[in-house]
């Protein structure tokens, strides 16, 4: 796939809306494009677009996502940048995967059997596409997840995440009484969660290594007999604190009349930069005259789903500035997109 065809591919992808849960049109487009580029491609039972290329002994999975958050941004090319929802997060990465694998195949230097997966529902809590792939596909030699790292940098890991709803109920009382209200109990509880995190983070300099809880919402009310306060807490977890362990810690912090409901839990995951795939990227960066750069991120991605399930080295790579994710300013520099295709083509090729 030459640069002109790669530019046509990303333009067509960004011009095809694919908000989470409504990815079918983009899946169909990708299957057609992958067929055209020589892949054996289909839509799987959960709606993922899947394409296979090559017949080498070692398999590499290139796992991107098709869906975007809502919010239409007019699709235009301006000053070398492609504006549009999903251009950075993460159609640029997925298009890079297809273009690079196809290019290495056409140039007869593809070193792996490549499986490109465009997942559904990465942007919502279900991560349905990635969970299906993790459960049904054999672990590959290594996996690259499609998220914007920048073309000259490799993402090694993402923090974990835990979403907890905490509800306190108590008998209603006249406000003239000295007893604490449910709202005051809720505020105290949040203070104790924050204080615990401060203590946990002592000596931990990096955000990636810290426990980072945030109070997303707090509400209170009553019906005359019962007063209640409800907190929604979202915590970003480090590698050494998995969701079950943090849930147990929260239980210890809560008074016995509080009820805890966990609505989402994902462990942190990170590969080593000395892993086989990270070193392969490093060699390509250096061959291009770039000093390799590696990053760990505070967010959570499909890497957190497939990494623990497969146990193989997993990194994330793709063009674009992740700071533009989910913003009205989302745009992809096309020169960087083409650079990322060149880098990934070399990574997938015989050395």
């Amino acid at each position: 796939m030459n640069d002109h065809q790669a530019l046509q591919l990303i333009e067509a992808m960004v011009a095809t809306p694919s908000v989470s849960g409504d990815e079918a049109a983009l899946a169909q487009l990708l299957v057609e494009q992958m067929h055209h580029a020589g892949f054996d491609a289909h839509v799987d039972v959960v709606g993922n677009a899947v394409g296979m290329l090559g017949d080498a002994a070692e398999t590499v999975v290139l796992l991107g996502h098709m869906d975007t958050v809502p919010g239409q941004i007019p699709v235009v090319m301006r000053d070398g940048e492609l504006w549009g929802r999903g251009s950075v997060d993460a159609k640029g990465s997925l298009a890079t995967f297809i273009a690079a694998a196809a290019r290495a195949h056409v140039e007869q230097r593809l070193a792996y059997r490549v499986i490109v997966v465009g997942c559904v529902e990465e942007e919502i809590a279900s991560s349905k596409g990635a969970h299906f792939v993790a459960q049904t596909m054999a672990a590959p030699t290594w996996c690259i997840v499609g998220e914007p790292s920048g073309a000259d940098r490799l993402t090694l890991g993402y923090k974990g995440n835990l979403r907890a709803q905490i509800r306190i109920e108590q008998d209603a009382a006249h406000s003239a009484h000295a007893s604490q209200t449910a709202a005051e109990h809720g505020c105290e509880l949040w203070q104790s969660i924050a204080q615990h995190a401060n203590e946990f983070n002592q000596g931990r300099e990096r955000a990636f290594d810290q426990l980072l809880p945030s109070l997303v919402r707090i509400e209170s009310g009553g019906d005359g007999l019962c007063d209640w306060c409800e907190l929604l807490v979202n915590a970003r977890l480090p590698l050494d604190l998995d969701p079950a362990a943090y849930t147990a810690l929260l239980q210890q912090l809560l008074p016995n009349y509080a009820h805890l409901n966990i609505s989402g839990a994902t462990p942190a995951y990170s590969s080593e930069r000395t892993s086989s795939i990270a070193r392969r990227f490093g060699r390509v960066f250096r061959a291009n005259g770039q000093q390799p750069r590696y990053v760990q991120k505070t967010g959570t991605a499909d890497m957190n789903v497939v990494g623990p399930a497969w146990g193989c080295p997993v990194v994330a790579y793709g063009p674009g500035d992740a700071a533009l994710d989910h913003t009205p300013h989302e745009r992809l520099p096309l020169a960087e997109y083409l650079q990322a295709i060149n880098v990934l083509t070399a990574v997938l090729s015989n050395e």
């Binding site: 993402y158 930069r273 390799p292 991605a301």
Partner: protein, 55 residues
């Protein structure tokens, strides 16, 4: 080819095609080391991994 780990002084076997700037693990202490010179091979502790907020 081999080099000495600057952390634990253990011996690290290196591939013949190792590149300047490449990061290698020490098999003894686990330290991540950067190749800062090829002739002779010199290893130093690799710089910190960057971190970003977001996805």
């Amino acid at each position: 080819m081999s080099a000495q780990c600057p952390e634990c002084e253990g011996t690290i076997a290196l591939a013949a095609d190792i590149l300047d700037g490449e990061i290698v693990p020490c098999p003894d202490c686990g330290a991540e080391l950067e190749v800062v010179s090829l002739n002779p091979v010199v290893l130093e502790l690799a710089p910190e991994v960057e971190e970003d907020w977001g996805e």
